[in-house]
């Protein structure tokens, strides 16, 4: 059977978890790529993210490198796009800040003198729509919850190593996931309220009591801890 080159999977991880990472590792064998180990024990070399492009700055000579910042519901990713990544470089030139973008990127650990930090090296970047972004948050929340569970069970080499290195407090990440989901939920609740208002306008006098009741229910759900 032919052995195919294994492509590294693009992991789903929120900015908080990835940007909290300070540890890089390799598998056995010389050809192993470099992986980042996150505080929740995810070993990743490539990520797929959807977020808002909040900064785009030329930092190289003759606009040869863009420094970008992509913000999700938990924090921001920082990335660098140079001419040696032509696909992403050509694409970013045409995308303005404050657009939603989908990015597939390699992750790198820079080791500065005072601190280590993770940055992205995007392979592709494109304009994204809000629906895709919402599903990304859902998917990433799901993956993060699974990692939290695995860390709580304390099984697996990477989980043990991550706990040793970071002394991870899983509650911190559980909270971040919850906040991300609530932020998203808010958006859907607001949309529904708008729909109700529109219907009322069309039908003149709707069942006002009923609508108020429903609004109250939604609000309590939002406030619940």
């Amino acid at each position: 059977m032919t052995v195919f080159m294994k492509r590294e999977v693009a992991r789903r991880v929120f900015a908080k978890e990835l940007m909290d990472s300070t540890y890089a590792m390799r598998d056995e064998g010389e050809k192993s790529p470099v992986y980042i180990l996150t505080p929740l024990g995810l070993k990743c070399n490539r990520v797929f993210i959807i977020g808002a492009l909040t900064e785009k700055t030329d930092v190289g000579e003759d606009s040869s490198i863009y420094r970008i910042r992509i913000t999700d519901q938990t924090g921001s990713f920082v990335g660098y796009i140079g001419r040696f990544q032509p696909e992403a470089y050509d694409a970013i030139a045409e995308i303005d800040v404050l657009n939603l973008v989908a990015v597939t990127a390699k992750v790198r650990l820079f080791e500065g003198e005072t601190r280590k930090f993770v940055s992205l090296r995007p392979e592709s970047i494109s304009i994204a729509d809000a629906e895709s972004r919402d599903y990304w948050v859902v998917e990433t929340a799901k993956a993060t919850i699974q990692r939290i569970r695995e860390m709580e069970r304390g099984e697996g080499e990477n989980v043990k190593l991550a706990r040793e290195i970071y002394g991870t407090d899983v509650e911190e990440y559980r909270k971040a996931v919850k906040e991300a989901l609530l932020r998203l939920k808010e958006e859907y609740t607001v949309e529904e309220e708008e729909e109700i208002v529109e219907e009322e306008e069309i039908e003149e006098e709707g069942d006002i009591d009923f609508d108020i009741e429903e609004e109250e229910i939604d609000l309590t759900e939002l406030l619940e801890d």
Partner: protein, 312 residues
């Protein structure tokens, strides 16, 4: 027919040549399952051992019941199969020791060996008996799970695997289109009869300079965060997603004096989008038969996840 009756029938069929009493089997099963509430697999094991002992069934004559992979249709069943490891994939989770595809002459199926099962690793290309493995359903894909009570035994014989081209089983995959390869878009294919190979720099790899025809396709990577699929989307699928068909693509190429313009446009429209693809999964490619933008019920998903977080 209730569960006891159907199990009793299975056991009776297996041992009827040894003079077993069907009524006795039913009574014993009732006791085990209804009174003692032991799991079904334990009840079967107990019955097997009892009959072998009482009726002096020679163990070596006992034919193990193997299920053909093509017959595995529902989750929740415990089966034993003889199969070859067709492919191993990178495990995305520390709780999974190994995962991939196994197959026999009737089909292939995903399998996973849980880390907790604590088994010797299997090797790609080798054949094994997978004994007492349980079928589950993961995102509409059936999988065989090797757990602690399962056994893996290497076989000397080589199990023939149904040629992948013959597999008609469709798989559904939802993932992000994270890459579109260069040989996508408006491509040229060799016009020699039965060839259809993609022409690179004006030449067919087999027929050299030759007559050709246009085709529109996407060769890309669909990634669900756990594994990647090399997906192929044909003209029909491209049109379904983007409204661009071969005629439009040709016009686009003419207007821009560049066939690459089509690829650029497809990248703009599709990179980073979530797609739901139904198609046949070969070891190398996911060949799309149906493709659409994935639009789940986000509100429902959020509520489910929040509820899961509440559980702690």
């Amino acid at each position: 027919m209730d569960k006891v009756e159907s199990l009793a029938n299975e056991i009776y069929e297996k041992y009827k040549d040894y003079g077993v009493d069907r009524k006795e089997i039913v009574e014993k099963l009732k006791k085990l399952l209804l009174e003692f509430k032991v799991p079904e697999s334990e009840a079967i094991r107990t019955m097997n051992n009892y009959i072998i002992r009482e009726y002096k069934v020679p163990r070596e004559e006992l034919k193990e019941q193997f299920t053909k992979i093509g017959d595995i249709k529902e989750a929740g069943k415990w089966v034993s199969v003889k199969a070859k490891v067709v492919q191993l994939w990178e495990s995305g989770s520390p709780s999974i020791a190994q995962t991939g595809l196994i197959g026999d002459e009737t089909g292939v199926i995903r399998f996973l060996i849980w880390a907790k099962a604590n088994k010797q690793p299997v090797v790609e290309g080798k054949s094994y008996i997978f004994r007492n493995v349980v079928v589950d359903d993961y995102g509409n894909v059936l999988r065989l799970n090797v757990t602690r009570i399962s056994e893996i035994e290497e076989l000397k014989e080589d199990i023939a695997v149904k040629p992948i081209e013959d597999l008609r089983e469709d798989t559904e995959v939802v993932g992000a289109l994270v890459a579109i390869q260069q040989n996508s878009g408006l491509i040229q294919r060799c016009g020699e009869e039965g060839c259809n190979r993609v022409i690179k720099s004006g030449k067919c790899p087999v027929h050299g300079k030759t007559k050709w025809y246009d085709d529109l396709r996407i060769k890309g990577v669909l990634d669900d965060g756990e594994r990647t699929y090399e997906v192929i989307i044909n003209e029909e699928g491209v049109k379904e997603l983007t409204g661009i068909d071969i005629e439009k693509a040709k016009k686009m190429a003419e207007e821009n004096y560049d066939r690459g313009a089509v690829l650029e446009e497809l990248k703009k429209l599709l990179l980073g989008k979530y797609l739901k693809v139904v198609g046949s999964l070969t070891p190398r490619y996911l060949v799309a038969k149906q493709v659409e933008f994935y639009r789940p019920d986000i509100k429902n998903e959020i509520n489910e996840l929040l509820a899961e977080l509440e559980e702690g």
